[in-house]
């Protein structure tokens, strides 16, 4: 018998009689998305995602169930079919509750695989954990020490009692690696012959170099300072990040073949244009190296220092010109670094002056606590009116008493002066730690209104061809180190694509996230306090620059990691639903759907069932009917339909193979085979749409 001729998306195909559109399309490499079809079970036709348009047919047809006929003309991507398909996906997502990726990872500006490496540490697989961290962060020992860890702020375990010490676990794994004879080095791809110049050896520049090197490109960093590391070296005091740790991490990057040329300032020692000429691409990671001015009378006086200038001098063992009585103005981490450094340098009296209250301070709480322990005096709700001088030198400060008024744009309550209430302090030194500014001198790129480098939000491109920028020096200006690393990590992929001839911009991937959980959902969890790092007592540590907190022990690390709730979906890497959701760029929020929480997740011996993630494709039910004893069935009707086990015929233990098969065929994370005793450890790689 001769074949049936059909065209699918203008392609001529020859089909067998009785063959469905879906099957013919597959043979001809035309992908028709589907969620409820699987070759090993009977056709069901529920999901409505394989809908196609067939010429001459008023209705859309289900490709999985429609047999071809002679002369059939199928359009799998017609506007109407794609609309119906996307709507089905959006409807499914509007009724889907869960977290594709864990909150910690979503919160990390570098999208570090927190859950993954925490899990691997729990399982004792430190090398795998380290390698996983290094997929996103090339300086984990340093970042683990200095990062204000937004991941921990987002950690779900907080609802049970306290967040996982994700950052401490990161330094643990990284220190473990640095302590090995042969530290981890990623595999490099064969050389591409492409060369990239990187301006600045801070976190962004180093990150860029690391990932470009892995991709086989050669990366040269030009650094104006005597040593690499950027603010990690010159802004963070030794007692928080021993430079020996940073040195070792930078050395590993150099071992990958990255060249770092220090003491070279682009725009002064070497012209920017010559970089452009010599290299295939340029990455500007110049940072923000100027202290923001106080903008009050007397700030020109001798003895008024910039926060980061002060810290830089301290790191370099240069004289700081600090006197006996010091006031640090500001409430961020730089202010904390400055006041604690001042103590260590021998100041007799150190104040921190902040215009709001402690709870508005942007600095990390532990930093404030430790500074207080070390003897720093905090004065809240004060703003400098003028710096009092004697012979051109700081003699004191006049302060305006403030109170909190209405909330401002940032949501924090705005400090407003209390009429007539002022005070003065006698001082020798004022350190202004109220922000940093970008100085992009000598670089012929377009700047923003804030004098930062203007970089495109999706490509990180500047206004010059092949010139990209990232880190503290762009757009909204300085942030935290891991943000710079995140920029650079993303931009490394973009530059790689650019070097390969086809620039792929950054895309915001659709992810399912939930925000409906409360402490009540974790009320029956055993309370397990988080690990505390060993800290040198204040009276000792205030006299030296030793690292204050020590790395946690292996035992501590394992116990801490075991607390992780594994919030991210174990199926993310394989889930068909999210794959399509991202491909079709769904926007399910537009329906304004009411939340729908089904009760009754159940454990079926070897399989975990989460009805909030079920798309009711019926694959598991058909699988259990057709390849097992029918242990799974549907209960309820309509919107409240659920898959439920039915063991009325025999014991659950007798269906292990069947249930395992059901979990395997499930296209989502609704049915998942249990891992015994181990963390799920799913490596939740961000998928990039092609």
């Amino acid at each position: 018998m001769s074949g049936i001729n059909v065209t699918i998306d203008e392609k001529n195909c020859v089909a067998n009689s009785g063959e469905t559109i879906l099957s013919v399309a597959k043979r001809y490499d035309i992908e028709i998305p589907t969620l409820c079809f699987h070759p090993s079970v009977s056709v069901y036709g529920a999901c409505g995602i394989c809908l196609v348009e067939v010429e001459g047919n008023k209705k859309l047809l289900r490709a999985c169930a429609t047999e071809v006929w002679e002369g059939m003309k199928v359009h799998t991507k017609s506007e109407r079919a794609e609309k119906a398909r996307k709507l089905a996906l959006e409807l499914l997502f509007s009724d889907h509750t869960g977290d594709c990726l864990p909150p910690c990872m979503n919160a990390c500006p570098a999208h570090t695989h927190c859950q993954g490496y925490v899990g691997l540490i729990a399982d004792g697989e430190y090398d795998a954990a380290l390698a996983l961290i290094k997929e996103q962060i090339p300086l984990p020992a340093s970042i683990g020490r200095v990062c204000p860890h937004p991941c921990e702020s987002a950690c779900r375990r907080k609802l049970a009692e306290e967040a996982i010490s994700i950052a401490a676990l990161k330094s643990f794994a990284a220190d473990w690696d640095l302590g090995r004879e042969e530290s981890y080095l990623p595999e490099k791809q064969p050389p591409t012959g492409k060369r990239v110049a990187i301006v600045g050896a801070g976190p962004a520049g180093l990150t860029m170099a690391y990932y470009l090197a892995i991709k086989g490109h050669s990366a040269d960093i030009y650094e104006a300072m005597p040593q690499a590391g950027g603010m990690l070296r010159y802004g963070i005091p030794e007692y928080r990040l021993p430079k020996a740790v940073l040195d070792r991490e930078i050395a590993l990057i150099e071992k990958l073949g990255v060249k770092i040329r220090c003491n070279v300032k682009i725009g002064k020692d070497i012209a920017f244009e010559s970089l452009e000429k010599e290299y295939d691409a340029v990455y500007l990671a110049i940072g923000a190296w100027q202290s923001a001015p106080l903008r009050c009378e007397g700030e020109q006086a001798e003895g008024v220092l910039g926060g980061i200038d002060f810290l830089r001098r301290a790191v370099q063992d240069q004289p700081t010109s600090m006197g006996r009585r010091v006031a640090v103005i500001g409430g961020g981490n730089t202010a904390m670094d400055a006041c604690r450094t001042a103590i260590r340098l021998g100041a007799e009296k150190v104040y921190v002056l902040y215009r709001r209250t402690r709870s508005e301070m942007p600095a990390e709480d532990i930093e404030i606590v430790e500074a207080m322990e070390e003897g720093v005096e905090f004065k809240f709700l004060v703003a400098p009116i003028r710096i009092l001088t004697e012979n051109g030198h700081v003699a004191g400060i006049e302060l305006q008493q403030m109170e909190l008024g209405e909330p401002d744009d940032s949501g924090r309550r705005r400090p407003v002066p209390v009429e007539g209430k002022t005070e003065t302090l006698a001082l020798d030194t004022v350190i202004a730690a109220i922000g940093q500014k970008v100085v992009a001198e000598g670089l012929p790129v377009k700047l923003t209104d804030w004098n930062t480098i203007a970089a495109d939000a999706h490509t990180y491109l500047t206004d010059r061809k092949g010139v990209f920028a990232g880190g503290d020096g762009i757009n909204r200006g300085p942030g935290i180190a891991v943000e710079s690393i995140g920029h650079a990590r993303e931009c490394a992929d973009i530059i790689d694509s650019y070097l390969n001839g086809d620039l792929i911009p950054r895309t915001e991937q659709y992810l399912v996230k939930r925000d409906d959980l409360t402490a009540a959902d974790f009320a029956d969890r055993e309370k397990l306090p988080r690990v505390r790092r060993n800290v040198i007592p204040p009276e000792i540590r205030r006299t030296n620059f030793e690292e204050v907190a020590s790395t946690i022990t292996e035992e501590q690390a394992k116990a801490e990691a075991a607390r992780c709730l594994e919030c991210g979906c174990a199926d993310y890497g394989e889930c068909d639903l999210i794959k399509y959701g991202q491909r079709f760029d769904v926007r399910p929020d537009r329906f304004g759907a009411e939340p729908h929480r089904r009760n009754g997740a159940d454990d079926m011996v070897n399989v975990h069932h989460n009805p909030d993630k079920c798309v009711l494709c019926g694959l598991c039910v058909r699988y259990s009917d057709e390849h097992g004893d029918g242990s799974l069935g549907l209960i309820g009707r309509g919107f409240d339909t659920q898959v439920r086990p039915d063991y009325s015929l025999s014991k659950p233990e007798d269906h292990l193979e069947e249930l395992k098969g059901c979990a395997e065929i499930c296209p989502t994370g609704a049915l998942i085979e249990k891992t015994t005793g181990k963390k799920v450890n799913t490596v939740m790689r961000r998928q990039f749409v092609k």
Binding site: V43, Y44, G45, A46, C47, G48, I49, L51, K59, L60, R62, A65, R80, K83, A84, L87, A88, L91, L92, S94, D95, R590, F591, G592, A593, E594, V615, L616, G618, G633, L634, G636, R637, G638, F639, D640, T641
Partner: protein
């Protein structure tokens, strides 16, 4: 002389059993020669319990007959030989019956449904006798084709075509199935027919069975229809005894028997493939078509499924001839159709009319016009799968094509009359609530899409509608139609889509102005007191459960909107019409 009492579910609900007992008691010893019979529903539900007195020359209909009236009626007829005038159904109400053409309902309210003789007196079982004795199966299909009969279950598919397909399907066993699941809210034509004339439906099934070569038939009856099931059971027994069911019927080679299955209680089980799944003991979920039931139906055997009313027409067609049936109706819609007339109409009930009668004639001539003489706004046809026909289109003739063109569907015959106090958004919400709950849960578009539409309609009637909600409803509606497997999903958006098409400004008023023009949606109403009309009698304040009304005695009162719970108590309490609702 004899008496009959309307003993359909509607009559019994109105107290017909007591009426019947009272009649018998009043007749006393005369009941031996003056029989009191029960009949099914005659369709004038607004007048139940109905008693008919049949003398040699006249038929007298009495409405809403209670026990005392029953006594008086008996007395009047026996003593004076005259009717009890004051209890007679008013002449104009009789228009309800006079303007109808009864084919399917020809025996309803006329015969005693529990007596096969009563059916046979009116020509019952003549059709099957004629068919078995004189016609080949192919000729039977041919006659149905000539009649032009289309399925009365909703889709209006030509009946002969399905019979033909089932007849031509290979198979040693075949089935005929009667779909009596009747799940549309407000529909009761199938119930009435089964309760009032069960044998006719059975006879129709026998003829179908003969035509396609089936030996078994199944009634799938809604479990909520116990009376219909009881009467069917009786009728089947009687037919077996009379030799119309069983082996070698009327001495021919044709053998056939019937059984009854009670439905699973879900609307979607009326969809033919879900019905089959349910008959087979599976979850009532639609299956993919093809294969159609005529190819692989019940137990994978060729099966013919028709609606109750479809079968009910068949005996008539074979007695009077297909041509006679085709002589009624319009070009593509032949014969008559039973409608369940309800809503804001003076006379509601079951009405059978020839296809092609206009909606206006049905509402005004049969239904007697709009209740309280309010203004007609439109007609909802086809229940939860149907749509709204606005007032300006009420001269549309009812047939499959014209109703569809007017934006609704014939469906199974639901016809809800709406006046100015009906809120279209609220009505769409009502039907969406129904279909959303009845979705079987298989298809994504239907299962979740109807829920989303309902949520949107809910927020609109609650005054929380957002810009873009109408467009979202339209998008969802079209998507659900495109993406759903069965008729439930494919038609569920119709009530919303058709009201948007015809009454968009009402949606706008709800969303944009936060007003319900029909004053129906509570959260959108505001209550206020007209100081001109208020006498300060304080009646409203006493009734207000929220203590939202204040005012000094004999001075105009005021309603504090912040406390008003919009219950409307004040409006009904005020004797001066001073409460203003907007």
């Amino acid at each position: 002389m004899r008496f009959t009492v309307g003993m359909g579910s509607c009559g019994i609900a109105a107290g017909a059993q007591k009426t019947l007992d009272a009649l018998k008691k009043a007749l006393g010893e005369r009941s031996s020669d003056i029989p009191v019979g029960q009949v099914g529903c005659i369709g004038m539900c607004f007048n139940e319990p109905i008693v008919e007195v049949i003398t040699d020359t006249e038929h007298y209909y009495y409405s809403k007959v209670n026990e005392e009236m029953a006594e008086e009626i008996v007395a009047s007829h026996l003593k004076d030989g005259l009717p009890a005038e004051s209890y007679l159904i008013p002449e104009e109400d009789m228009d309800f019956l006079k303007k109808q053409t009864r084919v399917a309902l020809r025996n309803c309210g006329v015969i005693d449904p529990e007596k096969i003789e009563s059916y046979r007196e009116r020509g019952g079982y003549e059709a099957i006798t004629k068919v078995l004795k004189t016609m080949s199966p192919a000729e039977v299909v041919g006659e149905v084709k000539i009649s032009g009969l289309r399925g009365r279950g909703g889709a209006g598919f030509p009946t002969w075509f399905k019979w033909d397909a089932a007849a031509k399907s290979e198979g040693d066993e075949k089935y005929v199935i009667c779909n009596a699941d009747e799940g549309d809210p407000g529909a009761f034509m199938d119930r009435s027919l089964l309760e009032g004339d069960p044998h006719a439906v059975m006879e129709g099934m026998m003829i179908a069975a003969y035509a396609i070569g089936a030996a078994k038939g199944v009634f799938y009856v809604r479990a909520e229809y116990p009376l219909a099931i009881k009467r069917l059971e009786k009728a089947i027994k009687q037919a077996r005894t009379a030799g119309f069911l069983g082996e070698h019927i009327l001495g021919t080679d044709f053998s056939f028997d019937l059984e009854i299955k009670a439905g699973a209680g879900a609307f979607v089980c009326g969809e033919e493939t879900a019905l089959i799944a349910s008959l087979e003991g599976e979850r009532g979920m639609p299956r993919l078509k093809p294969p159609f039931p005529a190819q692989k139906g019940y137990w994978q055997k060729p099966s013919n499924i028709n609606n109750v009313e479809t079968y009910g027409n068949i005996p008539w067609i074979f007695r009077e001839g297909g041509e006679a049936f085709a002589a009624m109706g319009t070009e593509n819609s032949k014969g008559t159709k039973v409608f369940a007339l309800a809503g804001k109409v003076k006379r509601g009930g079951l009405a059978e009319v020839p296809m092609g009668m206009t909606i206006r004639e049905i509402i005004y001539d049969i239904g007697g016009g709009i209740k309280d003489d309010k203004a007609l706004k439109g007609v909802q046809m086809g229940g939860p799968s149907g749509g709204c026909i606005p007032e300006r289109l009420i001269d549309t003739p009812v047939d499959y094509e014209n109703i569809t063109a007017a934006g609704a569907i014939m469906g199974s015959g639901g016809m809800i009359v709406m006046d100015e106090t009906t809120c279209m958004v609220d009505m769409a919400r009502f039907f969406m609530d129904f279909t959303q709950k009845e979705s079987c849960g298989k298809c994504v578009h239907c299962r979740i899409g109807t829920k989303r539409m309902l949520e949107i309609l809910d927020r609109i009637v609650n005054g929380e509608g957002r810009d873009g909600d109408i467009e979202l409803l339209e998008e969802l509606g079209r998507g659900i139609i495109d993406g759903s497997l069965c008729g439930l999903g494919q038609s569920a958006p119709n009530p919303a889509l058709s009201t948007i098409a015809q009454f968009r400004e009402e949606y706008d008023a709800h969303i944009r102005d936060k007003k319900c023009p029909a004053h129906k949606c509570k959260p959108l109403l505001t209550y206020a007191i007209d100081p001109e009309k208020c006498t300060g009698c304080n009646a409203c304040a006493k009734k207000c459960p929220a203590e939202a009304i204040h005012g000094e005695k004999k001075k105009p009162h005021e309603i504090d909107a912040a406390f008003c719970v919009k219950c409307g108590s004040c409006e009904s309490a005020c004797r001066f019409g001073a409460v203003l609702v907007d």
